[in-house]
């Protein structure tokens, strides 16, 4: 529900005419009126911004990082957008077991009939309000992971949210977010060489997600009205020279915020000034948040992780069925995600963003006395963008229930994270272990073949991977590559689902040109990805086997 009072403050109107490039004059006005301040201040509650100059952390902790020599990888323009659904989304009415009698017995008033749903398969339907995701499903740009949860489900909003954001088990207390830990692994350099852009950007949602041992790595957008004045005032405050007590802690925090209000501003404003949105977005805060994300991606901000959120999912009362409160919430998700990818797709940026929804728990199988549902257990996770579209894992058959009468999970939520870390961000095993504790299966829903655009000419390359010859091939083909200097080289072959098929090369090689034969004798026809990994970067290409 919109917090802003449009009638009294037109600057904050969501009714932004001119968002589309077609409305030329209005668009120009829009760009000017949608000034930095209003652009940035329209976003709601955000992260605990914190300076990257973490005075309380000595530089010696950096020495523990074993990834010192690793430079940024070639395919590093991939972005993950997390959509947090706060309150506990009713998964059973989102991805619906439309052939399961138990579902209808337990939900006499709010159950959704097969004929009212959007069929994803013979026995699974999607809530009808999500019609704007139909094309995603049809084109293979949507993956649904069924019945996701963990053992010993917690049903308290705050604890359950902590579990999902920290990537821990029900009985472990973890203080850092899984995304925070990922950012630490992905940016070993950041203490010695703090980046000019924020590592994570949060527009609402849980602060814990970006929390790391070095502080909170997520930042919110800041207003910039007194930027110049503030600099004239003498700029930055000393965050460290404070008493060692409660007052000192609070003072230091307030100074950190004041300082941070200006630290990332330049990179964010440069990105925002550099780009506009393409296409119309709905009038919801979720859609507006995603429009900001799209604009920053287009504008060239190097941030990899974005968190946006939508609340209102705690539907204890009068949830509604095909229509009603919950339907409206789901409709907003579908419309907003659709607008987001339509925007990015206009200039081929859509393959750069992987988007995932999550919620702290699903809801009770049984409806309650108020035609709603109470806090439940597992629920589906939806992933959009460069995915291998389809259903993953089995929907609960609604007979295997826990003590509260709710479905027992079949896929641990940490598998979802692991899949993304492995296939989307290309994190090696050691690094993934540092982010997610425990062994979780890669589900294969990420389309790791989705390559970003060719690396820019600006990147100095010390290697080059060539297209295989012949292509298509059967059954052998030659992969050639060149190295500017001797290096430890791996060449790995993956199938369309992202599973590793073969490690073709794994050794130190000298500078110069190299050829390697690949024999696909025992493999089925299809498209495969071959990936060259060196200490200074990776490159991948596709090849086709036709038997």
């Amino acid at each position: 529900m919109c917090k802003k009072d449009h009638h009294h403050n037109p600057k904050l109107s969501h009714d932004r005419k001119g968002a589309s490039l077609d409305d030329k004059e209005a668009h120009k006005d829009d760009h000017q009126n949608w000034s930095r301040r209003s652009f940035l201040s329209s976003l709601g509650f955000g992260a605990i911004g914190s300076s990257m100059l973490l005075g309380s952390t000595s530089v010696s902790t950096f020495a523990r990082s074993k990834f010192f020599n690793r430079l940024s990888r070639a395919d590093n323009d991939r972005v993950l957008v997390l959509i947090q659904l706060s309150g506990g989304n009713d998964g059973l009415n989102t991805i619906i077991p439309v052939e399961n009698d138990i579902y209808y017995q337990k939900r006499p008033t709010i159950g959704i009939r097969k004929q009212d749903s959007i069929l994803l398969s013979d026995d699974i339907g999607m809530h009808p309000a999500m019609s704007n995701l139909q094309s995603f499903w049809g084109e293979g740009n949507m993956a649904v992971i069924n019945n996701v949860g963990y053992s010993d489900t917690n049903r308290s909003h705050s604890r359950a949210t902590d579990i999902w954001t920290t990537g821990s088990g029900s009985n472990n207390i973890e203080n850092s977010g899984w995304a925070g830990r990922f950012l630490v692994e992905d940016n070993p350099d950041f203490i010695a060489n703090p980046p000019e852009f924020p590592l994570g950007v949060r527009i609402g949602g849980s602060a814990t997600l970006f929390q790391s041992e070095f502080g909170n790595l997520g930042v919110t957008f800041g207003g910039a009205n007194h930027f110049t004045q503030f600099l004239e005032q003498g700029g930055f405050y000393d965050e460290n020279n404070v008493p060692q007590n409660d007052f000192g802690d609070s003072l230091s925090f307030a100074r950190k915020i004041a300082n941070s209000s200006f630290k990332y501003l330049e990179s964010i404003q440069a990105a925002a000034d550099n780009a506009t949105n393409i296409g119309e977005y709905p009038n919801s805060s979720l859609a507006q948040s995603l429009s900001v994300v799209a604009r920053l991606i287009r504008g060239g901000l190097n941030t990899k992780l974005f968190l946006v959120s939508k609340g209102g999912f705690d539907t204890h009362n009068n949830q509604g069925g095909p229509e009603g409160g919950h339907a409206n919430l789901l409709g907003d998700i579908a419309d907003s995600v659709n607008a987001f990818y339509a925007d990015l797709g206009s200039d081929n940026l859509d393959n750069r963003a992987l988007t995932m929804t999550f919620s702290e728990f699903g809801r009770t199988l049984d409806e309650n006395s108020s035609n709603g549902t109470d806090h439940g257990s597992s629920a589906p996770v939806m992933v959009f963008g460069p995915v291998n579209g389809g259903l993953y894992g089995n929907h609960s058959d609604l007979t295997d229930l826990d003590n509260s009468g709710d479905p027992v999970f079949s896929t641990d939520y940490r598998s979802v994270y692991t899949s993304i870390l492995d296939d989307w961000f290309g994190l090696g095993d050691n690094e993934t272990d540092a982010v997610i504790d425990g062994n979780f299966q890669n589900l294969g829903f990420v389309d790791s073949l989705a390559t970003s655009s060719e690396p820019s000419q600006k990147t100095a390359r010390s290697f080059r991977l060539h297209q295989n010859y012949p292509n298509p091939f059967n059954p052998t083909t030659t992969i050639s590559f060149s190295l500017a200097q001797a290096a430890d080289v791996k060449i790995r072959i993956y199938d369309i689902k992202g599973s590793l098929v073969q490690t073709l090369v794994d050794q130190k090689m000298q500078a110069g040109d190299h050829n390697v034969q690949f024999d696909a004798n025992s493999l089925p026809s299809g498209t495969y990805l071959y990936k060259l990994e060196t200490p200074t970067g990776n490159q991948s290409k596709k090849m086709t086997l036709i038997k």
Binding site: D5, I48, A207, D246, G248, D249, S250, A254, H316, N368
Partner: protein, 555 residues
């Protein structure tokens, strides 16, 4: 004479008591910074019997009222001790009559959001001219969180009467703020707005709705875990409590909750392992009797965070909890203890809390004595929405993170009030208020505040006095910019002997290009003082500078 916390230990004793060192002294005000580990021994719940002066009284007034109004400060200082001042302040709040009902409420049920705003405005007026009572209502509106937006959003809730329900909820808090906590829980559980908000009006035998039952324990009385991390209740308890609190409904005509026996689950329930045919009051009695210590700790921790520090001190809170039990959960008695104890006046707490949006606006108005007009109240209402704190509309069932104990990862709750968006918004808004961009059109006239707290013709005094008035922490800790330029005007140099650096810098910042010897207040023919425009403007810009210091966010 300033209060030192100095403990002398024998040489061969292990140094568990930390010796505080005096680091800087200026003009009778010292800032004591502990040079050793932060695990120093802090004073406890014993009554504070140190110096009762401007510093201590300011701290008490800032924490119990919405900011430091000079009359309130003088009132607090008129007493001989902290205990006497606290007694007076609490008793005044206790005996304040309930507000008069607005005409719209008397006219009949209202579902008009403008009437909700009217409640907010009345509350703001109360905060401006009152103090502890309005502050406690804010505390309770955070603890027993109910949001009006939930009630007008769903059709079968009180679409046509929710404003009236919220008014009754607000009045209930006037009634019980300082009374018995157990009675309060009972009354609040039956309040119509609460019944709607947590869906207990729809909770009936055979089809229990767990929402309220869970929150009764998780939010109102126990919390999920006790202070040692033990679980306070199980999922089973929640389900059983849900059964016990069945049968409650709302009568929109009378704006009250009532019990419908036919909807009540009239069978035995087992809660905390104890069986009985509990009803609403039965459950509340059971919780408080079975878990007396946990309940006392839970509510005392909340009070501690609201009045002392965002970081709970387990030992102090435990002691306060014992006192709470001893006083049979009488909130006035607990408050008197907390506000008059030596721990409360520990220096490390001065300026240790981050102001909420309510506190930022109201303290600014009270400090500068800007009476809230309708326009200003409307301005503040809108800005508070943007700053994430709308009165009567808490951000979640937990109230506002900013007023609550730390997040599970240890992050203090009050950090949520500030981020790189919200802080600059605060700067903008406060500047707008004194520059008339709040819709009032007229700029703030600083002559009367300088008369009240300083010497209006002496820029050195004004610079220091206004800074001290606005800032909760000692001036040498607030990070005042070092101004290298000389004072403007070449005719004479000011006598700076004995003047601390911060005072010199502050005066330079105040004066800017105005020669120090020209700054003065003029008299009109009736003997009233006034400032010529350039001097008034200098003071305004100076106030604008002060409120943008990070230290201004602290109280």
């Amino acid at each position: 004479m300033h209060h030192f916390s100095l403990v002398i230990t024998k040489e061969d004793e292990t140094t568990e008591h930390m010796i505080s060192k005096e680091v800087k002294e200026d003009y009778g005000k010292s800032s004591i910074i502990s040079t050793t580990s932060r695990h120093q021994q802090l004073a406890g719940l014993e009554p504070y019997n140190g110096t009762w002066g401007k510093t201590q009284a300011s701290h008490l007034v800032r924490r119990t009222h919405f900011g430091l109004k000079i009359n309130t400060l003088n009132y607090a200082r008129s007493f001989n001790s902290a205990s006497d001042a606290v007694d007076a302040i609490v008793n005044n709040a206790l005996s304040n009559p309930s507000p008069d009902d607005p005409q719209w409420f008397k006219n009949g049920n209202s579902g008009d959001v403008q009437d909700i705003y009217d409640i907010q405005f009345r509350w703001m007026e109360g905060m401006y001219s009152g103090g502890l009572r309005e502050r406690m209502i804010l505390f309770w509106s955070n603890h027993f969180a109910v949001s009006y937006s939930n009630m007008n959003a769903l059709p079968d809730k009180a679409g046509n009467s929710y404003a009236s329900h919220m008014y009754k909820y607000w009045k209930l808090m006037h009634q019980y703020s300082f009374g018995n906590f157990k009675d309060f829980v009972s009354a609040m559980s039956k309040n119509s707005a609460m019944l709607y908000y947590l869906n207990n009006y729809n909770n009936r035998d055979g089809q229990p709705n767990e929402d309220f039952a869970r929150e009764l324990m998780e939010l109102f009385t126990l919390g999920p875990q006790d202070k040692d991390g033990n679980t306070n209740y199980t999922e089973n308890d929640v389900a059983e409590v849900a059964r016990a609190v069945t049968g409650w409904r709302v009568n929109d005509a009378t704006l009250s909750g009532y019990f419908d026996q036919s909807r009540f689950d009239n069978n035995s329930k087992t809660i905390f392992g104890v069986a009985g045919n509990y009803d609403m009051d039965g459950v509340i009695d059971l919780i408080i009797s079975q878990k007396e210590e946990e309940v006392a700790y839970f509510i005392c921790q909340k009070l501690y965070v609201f009045f002392v520090s965002a970081k709970p001190n387990k030992a102090i809170i435990s002691e306060l909890a014992s006192h709470c039990i001893y006083q049979n959960f009488d909130m006035a008695a607990v408050l008197k203890k907390l506000l008059s104890c030596a721990h409360f006046y520990e220096e490390q707490f001065y300026g240790s809390r981050i102001k909420s949006p309510t506190e930022v606006f109201m303290s600014y108005l009270r400090e500068l004595e800007i009476t809230p007009t309708s326009q200003l109240k409307e301005y503040i209402r809108l800005r508070m929405q943007e700053l994430n704190e709308e009165l009567l509309r808490p951000e979640s069932v937990f109230g506002w993170a900013g007023y609550n104990p730390p997040y599970s990862d240890g992050t203090p709750g009050h950090y949520s009030w500030l981020n790189t968006n919200l802080m600059p918004s605060r700067w903008n808004n406060l500047t707008d208020i004194i520059y008339g961009s709040d819709g009032s059109g007229s700029r703030y006239n600083p002559i009367s505040i300088t008369q009240k707290i300083s010497d209006p013709s002496n820029p050195f005094s004004i610079a220091e006095d206004i800074a001290e008035h606005l800032l909760a922490s000692p001036l040498d800790t607030v990070g005042i910019r070092e101004v290298e330029e000389d004072f403007a005007g070449g005719l004479a140099d000011p006598d700076l002997s004995g003047m601390p650096d911060h005072k010199i810098n502050l005066t330079k910042i105040l004066l800017g290009t105005i020669p120090w010897y020209e700054f003065t207040a003029n008299s009109d023919q009736d003997g009233n003082l006034f400032y010529e425009e350039s001097f008034a403007e200098a003071v305004r810009q100076y106030i604008s500078y002060l409120q943008q210091l990070p230290a201004y966010q602290l109280i």
